[in-house]
Symmetry: C2
Subunit: 351 residues, 2 copies
């Protein structure tokens, strides 16, 4: 689920684009506008309007049951490090996990274009099965539709998941305050860049692979280690790390500072981002989690991540005393720049 922006600067954009544009699906400001101007006025309610990654149903409804859904339209459907099947399971498991929920079960909907090779469908399902096993969750229901050869694009998957949120796990933007610290579990930008390279420059040889992986076991371990000091989590998918921190600043109206030299980025990701003309901070990840923890728990959080195998996990920023809703990056060369949410579609169809 995308989140909403309160930025009034671009409210005219949707009326200037009366047809849906690719950029409306990019996870940036245009997606926010679609949500705010078109979707929420029709469907909004106290749960949906929170626009969290999973809906946490109120306690009277089944002790905080989490429900999430995501459509996957990535092209090519197979990319270095994964495929649409692995992505569909990880995306849903991770949306549950960052909401504090332990996944209970998945539902899988396939929309396949006529002529899609059966062996490819089998490969996708093998990947779904392997990834679900890795995450320790089962696909318990599903549906398959076939559309005409020219009416779809290979295969689309929509995955829905339910999970249970332990009553003791209290996560939310409302718990964030001055002095809290921000961590990430490893190098950023690799999913989006690996998919873009595979699509746009298939002739380029790169060791870059998508980071797509289920995070539920890692997150569960950290949550146990950190207890009430774990305040908020989000997986930086579409719109990347920039999207998450900009959203966080805007919604809390606190000031977020990131230290560029602390943000882990692999050299091959830097090179790919340079080649493609992209900002690695705005590119989607599918195996990363941004955690906000109490300041005095930051080293404990880092130790927990590292002991769970995230060797490149890092403390990347903090919540400052200003109350301006801005996110600022201290760059490696000593400068400062504001991190905003990307406007529209930077990278179409990467998830």
């Amino acid at each position: 689920m995308n989140r909403i922006s309160d930025n009034p600067v671009t409210t005219e954009a949707l009326s200037n684009h009366r047809d849906i544009a690719l950029a409306h699906g990019g996870g940036g400001q245009l997606t926010d506008e679609l949500l705010r101007q078109v979707i929420l006025p029709r469907l909004g309610n106290d749960v949906l309007s929170q626009l969290t990654d999973s809906a946490l149903l109120p306690p009277s409804w089944q002790n905080r049951l989490a429900l999430t859904i995501d459509g996957y339209v990535v092209t090519p459907w197979r990319f270095p490090g994964g495929d649409i099947g692995k992505l569909a399971v990880c995306g849903t498991v991770n949306d549950l996990a960052v909401s504090g929920a332990q996944p209970l079960a998945l539902a899988l909907s396939l929309i396949v274009a006529e002529g899609f090779p059966q062996r490819d469908l089998e490969a996708v399902l093998d990947s779904v099965a392997a990834t679900a096993a890795q995450a320790g969750v089962r696909v318990v229901t599903g549906d398959t539709k076939v559309v005409g050869r020219h009416q779809g694009d290979g295969i689309y998957i929509t995955t829905s998941g339910i999970g249970l949120c332990p009553p003791s796990r209290r996560l939310g933007l409302d718990r964030i305050r001055e002095g809290d610290m921000i961590l990430v579990n490893g190098p950023v930008g690799e999913h989006g860049l690996a998919v873009m390279l595979a699509r746009e420059m298939p002739h380029v040889h790169s060791v870059l692979r998508s980071d797509v992986t289920p995070l539920n076991h890692l997150i569960d371990f950290c949550a146990q280690q950190l207890g009430d000091d774990l305040l908020f989590m989000r997986d930086p998918t579409r719109a990347g790390l920039a999207g998450v921190v900009a959203d966080m600043a805007q919604q809390t109206q606190l000031h977020v500072t990131l230290e560029e030299f602390s943000i882990p980025v692999r050299p091959e990701a830097e090179h790919a981002a340079d080649m493609l003309g992209l900002d690695v901070l705005e590119v989607a990840n599918e195996g990363k989690v941004v955690m906000v923890v109490r300041g005095d728990a930051a080293n404990r959080a880092l130790d927990a991540l590292r002991s769970a195998g995230c060797e490149q996990a890092a403390i990347i920023g903090c919540i400052d005393s200003k109350h301006d809703g801005m996110c600022e990056l201290h760059t490696t060369i000593g400068g400062r720049r504001v991190i905003a949410k990307p406007y529209g579609e930077q990278l179409p169809r990467i998830c």
Copy 2:
């Protein structure tokens, strides 16, 4: 979710069609083969392999929570009597309801093609909102993806739903036995025929409208009236009434007899089926439920349906003493014919 067939006659078919064919999405025998040969070998488990309309999670998991998912690719997206938004809510609510569950919440995933008019998206969402209100259920989470202009076909919706099954409500094919009676809540075939007419013969004027409607309140009322005498329900969507009764006979290995003169069909549906060369029993419904009840409760069931406004509800058949897994139709002119599940795609993209 489609169900599986044990019919061995056509097991070669999938290997003869190494690419996915439209017929694999038709809800008939080819869909069964795709399920049996491709999907279940990879993802099967004790819940998924039951292939019910909703997965009922075992009691140790949250007191029989139901989870369902369905993709909707209907074209045209707006048809007489409804549109893809209404269909997406009804299909999911009804899958929960026929499983005995009361809907708790819905999740909505949109895959929209670039260039789809915003006013049409708004109309679809208005329809989602109105239908959800009618069913008394809320959309609590969602996702939107946009694909290229030529990579999708207007709009696809995948809806997932969760529901709670009252502990007292025991429904299942295993409860069906000789002497049980079969009912339907009204005239059949209207959804598929209305969509096909709108698509194939837009110049033909017809009063035929899709029957698409949420059934949860009706089903809840009947379940309360019938208690333990309500044995099994299924909504006859893709593959129609024929698909449901053929499946029921095959899976129980009992003999099902239907009386053609008892099956409610409106004259305009008869005419449309004749024009399109279709068997009205094999055409999808989106506001119908097939109920199996104990023989001595059949009139009570009929009274319950009629008192809830289903004036054309009818007792249409019974479970016979033979144990041959066949379904037989006693025709109006005194003949008999076997009702089999349609083989492949009779009507593409009607839901």
